[in-house]
């Protein structure tokens, strides 16, 4: 041990930008090596991508001949935007879809702004009256011209399938979860079998079943629309997944909550509706939204049974002889839109998780 009087040098900078760099990127030799490798990776990926998407891209024009630059040809998307967003829905009736979007948007914004009154009423409106408005506005009735569902398509169809799947599967999922945890053996076994069967098979086989087997199940003359068949398939499939998520929440509930509500004389349904479900659903909100994201992504599979959802229509537009060879643009655009939707949902769920993290 030598205690020399060597002059102590000035301290290594640990504050400011230099300090941060030293601590987080160049703390030792292999970290420096990793940083350089990472920078190189970004260098070979990012600039060409940016060039292709923005700098060298073509934005103005109306035919493929206007795409003279090296980069992406966004004119392809621009020219087909109506198909991509609305499918083959008649042009003069598009206002109906936009009207539905508008109602959804306004009530959504209302619900998102903190500290507004009557949120319960708006929520009830969205859950009960809004679906009726949707059905009338979108498929026709009450003096509006009927629009067959085979004309539905694009992002609009994706939102319809995901929306119906999400809204209907949650109550079914809750009921299935309650059933599986029921003390009555018959109910519990039936629910377990139902859940495990749907969860055990891929969605694509469910959709094949919906399109090939459902028509056989129905009595004569009853013919379900292809879209409705797909919706039923998606609904049960996601209900089974949600049921397991909800069951997780129910299991995490302390036993005392059940005992206390029984002690004050609540019946089974009141106990569930007033005490257990509000608490346990709150606990599993992130997982529920995770399932919603999964449903949203899974709606793309309906293209295998011949429905033209957002991805399906982009695939279809790409086969148009006028626009052959622009699949990259189509996929990048679709990926961007899906990503924004999914990321927004997961961001919202994280926000909600923080906000609801009361107690404990």
């Amino acid at each position: 041990m030598s205690t020399t009087n060597k002059e102590i040098g000035p301290p290594v900078i640990e504050l400011g930008a230099m300090g941060w760099l030293r601590k987080n990127l160049f703390s030792n030799w292999y970290n420096s090596l990793l940083t350089i490798f990472g920078l190189y990776l970004l260098y070979i990926l990012i600039p060409p991508l940016l060039n292709w998407i923005f700098l060298d891209a073509n934005f103005v024009g109306s035919t493929r001949d206007d795409c003279t630059n090296e980069g992406a040809c966004w004119i392809f998307i621009q020219q087909n935007i109506k198909l991509i967003f609305y499918g083959l829905y008649p042009t003069e009736e598009l206002w109906r879809i936009n009207f539905v979007y508008l109602i959804l948007f306004i009530s959504g914004v209302y619900l998102l702004i903190p500290n507004l009154k009557h949120k319960g009423w708006v929520g009830a409106f969205l859950l009960i009256i809004f679906p009726i408005i949707c059905v009338i506005m979108l498929s026709g009735g009450l003096g509006l011209e009927a629009v067959e569902t085979r004309l539905w398509g694009g992002l609009f169809l994706t939102l319809v399938i995901a929306g119906v799947g999400i809204v209907l599967s949650l109550p079914i999922g809750v009921m299935l979860a309650l059933g599986r945890r029921s003390k009555l053996p018959v109910v519990s076994i039936l629910c377990t079998i139902f859940i495990e069967i749907w969860r055990g098979v891929p969605l694509i086989t469910v959709l094949f079943m919906a399109s090939n087997m459902f028509p056989l199940f129905m009595p004569e003359g009853v013919n379900f629309d292809k879209l409705i068949r797909a919706l039923i398939g998606v609904m049960f499939f996601s209900a089974a997944y949600l049921a397991e998520v909800v069951r997780g929440g129910l299991q995490a509930m302390p036993k005392g909550q059940y005992e206390a509500s029984q002690a004050v004389g609540l019946t089974y349904w009141r106990m569930m509706a007033l005490v257990i479900l509000p608490q346990s659903l709150k606990m599993v909100i992130p997982a529920i939204i995770g399932s919603f994201i999964a449903i949203f992504k899974d709606t793309t599979l309906v293209l295998v049974i011949g429905l033209f959802d957002f991805l399906g229509i982009i695939q279809f537009v790409g086969t148009n002889p006028d626009w052959l060879g622009f699949s990259h643009e189509g996929y990048v655009f679709a990926a961007a839109v899906f990503w924004v939707f999914c990321y927004a949902m997961s961001w919202y769920s994280q926000r909600l998780e923080k906000k609801l993290d009361t107690g404990r």
Binding site: N24, L34, L184, G200, P219, T300, L303, V304, A334, A335
Partner: protein, 392 residues
């Protein structure tokens, strides 16, 4: 009168009586529903002239399949096509799981790196890939990347032995010459001996506390025996490299572009979920464990191997198998790019030809259902085995 009514009341409001009553109603409704569906189906099938039963499995299928792992021709039966599809599904799932695990663990560990840039790159990978539908990713790799590759003459190549072009990926084939079986027997033998060494080393350590470098010894034993036996038998194992002949490659193993795209997309997508599982598992090991291990004087690599990894694995394995199962089920998306998996071959072509929707979809669903139930059975056993005493 009064007592009769209260008797009736206490009978009606008795919990167990109510329970039986509700269960009877449920059973009745379910039975009614099934009866309704079955009668409808029976009548519909009769009207459409559809056959029922599994006789069709023995009939000639009369269609060809683009990629088969076993002998198959249009004169083979529908049952053969079922097996071909099943094997193709398992092939994709197997390769996919292998790569997803490698990529997923790498990305997951990268996310925990103390290097800010590396952690952010890993985070970007996870956030981008898991928020884009898998089908879109499959389409991207298949239509936008593999189809856009150059023709065989301008293939992308690696070391003159791997070739990638729009016909697929060509890799060298291993050829086992005479005498190569001895090498395999020796390989198996050394593996069994190594397992024995591990058990013996563990026992000895429990008894005496002395450590034995079982890992290094057994690795040396396996590799050493392998190379010595290779040299002794005169290198009977060789590689057959793909070669460009005319317009296409001959020799080697050809992986069709559908297989390459599907495996790639499945592996990359599932890896983003596995990365999160791995990160969660490692983070679940409390900091106190590392600190305690340090304070008893364990070295860094021993802390990882003896303290962190075993505990993290206990958290990681159940959700990891879940991801493997998801990957297997997601491999059914093969149907969208025409890779001949179980769904495309059997629930697609065979169903179209025979029209026996119920039997065929039942069989396909049965396969997937068997896989998931089997996996969850294994998982339950694993959880029981790994459970720490006193933990709830």
């Amino acid at each position: 009168m009064e007592t009769d009514r209260s008797k009736l009341g206490s009978f009606l409001f008795n919990r167990s009586v109510q329970g039986v009553f509700y269960q009877l109603i449920t059973l009745g409704l379910v039975a009614l529903g099934i009866y309704y569906i079955v009668t409808n189906t029976a009548r519909n099938m009769l009207e459409r002239g559809l056959a029922s039963g599994f006789h069709f499995l023995g009939v000639e299928s009369q269609f060809d399949i683009g990629m088969t792992l076993i002998e198959y021709s249009p004169t083979s039966t529908y049952f053969d096509s079922f097996i071909v599809g099943l094997l193709n599904t398992l092939l994709v799932a197997g390769i996919g799981i292998l790569f997803a695990t490698i990529i997923g663990f790498t990305i997951g560990i990268m996310r925990l790196s103390s290097n800010w840039l590396i952690a952010k790159i890993a985070e970007a990978y996870v956030e981008i890939l898991r928020n884009i539908p898998l089908l879109l990713q499959i389409f991207f790799w298949y239509f936008a990347v593999l189809r856009a590759l150059p023709k065989p003459k301008q293939s992308l190549e690696l070391y003159d032995s791997f070739f990638l072009n729009n016909r697929g990926l060509f890799i060298p084939d291993t050829v086992f010459g005479e005498g190569s079986s001895i090498i395999f027997y020796l390989l198996w033998l050394t593996i069994i001996i190594s397992i024995g060494i591990f058990i013996w080393a563990k026992r000895r350590q429990n008894r005496t506390g002395e450590r034995f470098p079982a890992f290094y010894v057994s690795t040396a034993l396996i590799l050493g025996t392998f190379f010595i036996s290779l040299a002794a038998t005169g290198f009977p194992v060789s590689f057959e490299y793909p070669e460009l002949k005319g317009f296409n490659f001959k020799g080697g193993v050809k992986l069709i572009p559908e297989l390459v795209a599907l495996t790639f997309a499945l592996a990359m997508y599932t890896a983003s979920f596995i990365a999160e599982v791995v990160r969660g598992g490692i983070m679940a090991v409390s900091k106190g464990q590392t600190e305690a291990a340090k304070s008893v004087g364990l070295k860094q690599n021993l802390i990882l191997r003896l303290i962190i990894i075993p505990q993290a694995l206990r958290v990681i394995v159940p959700p990891l198998t879940n991801q493997y199962l998801n990957l297997t089920k997601n491999s059914s998306l093969a149907a969208a790019i025409a890779y001949p998996d179980l769904v495309l071959v059997f629930a697609g072509t065979a169903l179209m030809q025979t029209g026996q929707a119920i039997e065929i979809i039942g069989m396909v669903m049965g396969v997937y259902l068997f896989l998931s139930l089997f996996t969850s059975l294994i998982m339950n056993l694993f959880n029981r085995f790994m459970k720490v005493d006193g933990e709830r």
